[in-house]
Structures are given as structure tokens and as C-alpha cells.
Amino acid sequence: MSTEPDDDGLSWGGEKDPTHVESTVADEARQEAPDVAEPGTSSALLVTYGVFGGIFLLYVVGWIIAIQSIPAGSPGALAAVMDRVAEFLAFLSPVLWFFGVLMLTPKSRARTRILWLVLGVLILAPWPFILGY
């Protein structure tokens, strides 16, 4: 590899091209590259989010089944309307939580997001269905 400008005519000219595999410039470019999420990491994260999405979808089904067996609450027209609203929100809660966490924490670290999703998995589980009440 030539270093003198006079010898440029004898080289292939790839030393300064970062896309050239054997170029020293390419090594430097790789070392100076900012910290970007590796493709492997983001794929794993996507799979993790997919797993959480699947769990929350199952929860929706669980809530729909659970709501069928939950007795009516307080008497009265307003109470009846609020009961329907509560049931509707209860079976939508896993979906709202999942998309809410993903949309409201765009700048958070992946660990923070996953912790929020785990919290949702614990508190939004259709316990009446799981426990058989």
C-alpha cells in the first residue's frame, strides 16, 4: 500500500474509501461510529414486544369470558351504565396498556418499557377468569 502521493498512480485507490473492506479508513469509520442499536438487539426487543402483545391479547379474551360471569353491581340506571363502561374498559385495558406504554415512553430505555409492560401483565390479568370466580 502506498503512502506517498507520488505513488498514487501505482495504487488501486481504495485506501480512502470507507466501503472498501481492507481500507484503514473503514476501520476508523467503524470505531468512530456512534452507539446505534445493533440489529440483533432490536429484533430481540421486537420479539419481546410481540410476546407481550400476545399475552395482552389473551388477557382480552380472558376478560371477555370473565365478564360474562360477573354479577351486576349496585342498582340504578347510572350504576348500570357505569357497570357496562367498567366492563368495556376492563376488557380493553390490556390493549390500552400495551399501546399506551409503547406510545407514551418513546424515549425511555427498553428496560423501562419492559418493566411497565410486566406491571401491566401482573395487574391486568383476568384474575376472575384465572381463579375461576
Binding site: W63, A66, I67, I70, P71, G73, S74, A79, M82, V85, A86, E87, L89, A90, L92, S93, L96, W97, G100, M103, L104, G120, I123, L124, P126, W127, P128, L131, Y133
Partner: protein
């Protein structure tokens, strides 16, 4: 590409949203956010009312059943205190979380947080109500 030099007409809603965003950034509560917080507060209060109603109804049911069970010489039912206390505290906790997490956020995000909290409260209330009923069921 040519640009239109005249600014787009602003609606009162845009002005209200801007005023609310400025208030939010300085840690205060704009009137729009305050209205939303109050409306959601009423909804959360209804869940508290439901929890109090169920706690009283369950108490009357348990005492009535216990009188009967005592006469028959069976074991008495115990009042599910822990479940009822959590049931009563849940509206305050969920509203508090939504309110605190929504500080310095935009108006839309605040509404989103309140809806999420209300949905979590609905799921939690149904769960705790079911557990309380099941715990006092005579088997």
C-alpha cells in the same frame, strides 16, 4: 416548491391547547387540563362510590350470614378486610398515578394516561369485587 406566506388561521382550540402546553411546561395546570382532571376525577369517584357500596353490602351480608351460621353451629364467615381496603384505595392510587405521570405532559397524553388508569381501575375493581364475593361465599 412554493410556500404560502400567509399564516394558517388559528382556532380558539389551538389557542387553548397552546396556553395549556405553556402552563404544563411551567409545572402548572392549565384550565383545559384542570377540566379534564376534574371530569376524570368524577369518573374515578364513581368507582370509589361503588367500592364503598360493595363494602357496606358485603358487611351486611356477612353479618346476616354469620347469625344464621352461628345458630346452625357452623364456622363463621370472615370479612375480607385486606381486599376491601385495597378496593377502597385503588381509585385514589390510580388517579394519583395518572395525575403525577401526566405532569409536564401534553393535554392529549394526560387524557391517554387518565384513560389507561381508568381501564386499569376497571380491571382491578372487577377483580377485587369478584375476590371479595368469592371469599364470603358459603361452600
Amino acid at each position: 416548491m412554493t410556500e404560502n406566506s400567509s399564516p394558517e388561521p388559528r382556532s380558539p382550540i389551538d389557542d387553548a391547547l397552546d396556553a395549556d402546553a405553556i402552563a404544563s411546561r411551567s409545572g402548572r395546570l392549565g384550565w383545559l387540563s384542570a377540566t379534564v382532571a376534574a371530569v376524570f376525577g368524577l369518573l374515578f369517584a364513581f368507582y370509589l362510590y361503588e367500592a364503598i357500596s360493595q363494602a357496606i353490602a358485603l358487611s351486611q351480608y356477612v353479618s346476616g350470614q354469620n347469625k344464621l351460621l352461628d345458630k346452625l353451629g357452623h364456622g363463621l364467615l370472615s370479612y375480607p378486610w385486606i381486599v376491601i381496603v385495597i378496593y377502597l384505595l385503588l381509585p385514589f392510587v390510580t388517579y394519583g398515578f395518572a395525575f403525577v405521570l401526566g405532569r409536564r405532559r401534553t393535554f392529549i397524553v394526560r387524557i391517554g394516561l387518565f384513560v389507561m388508569a381508568l381501564a386499569a381501575l376497571s380491571a382491578g375493581s372487577l377483580t377485587l369485587g369478584s375476590i371479595a364475593s368469592a371469599a364470603t361465599r358459603i361452600t
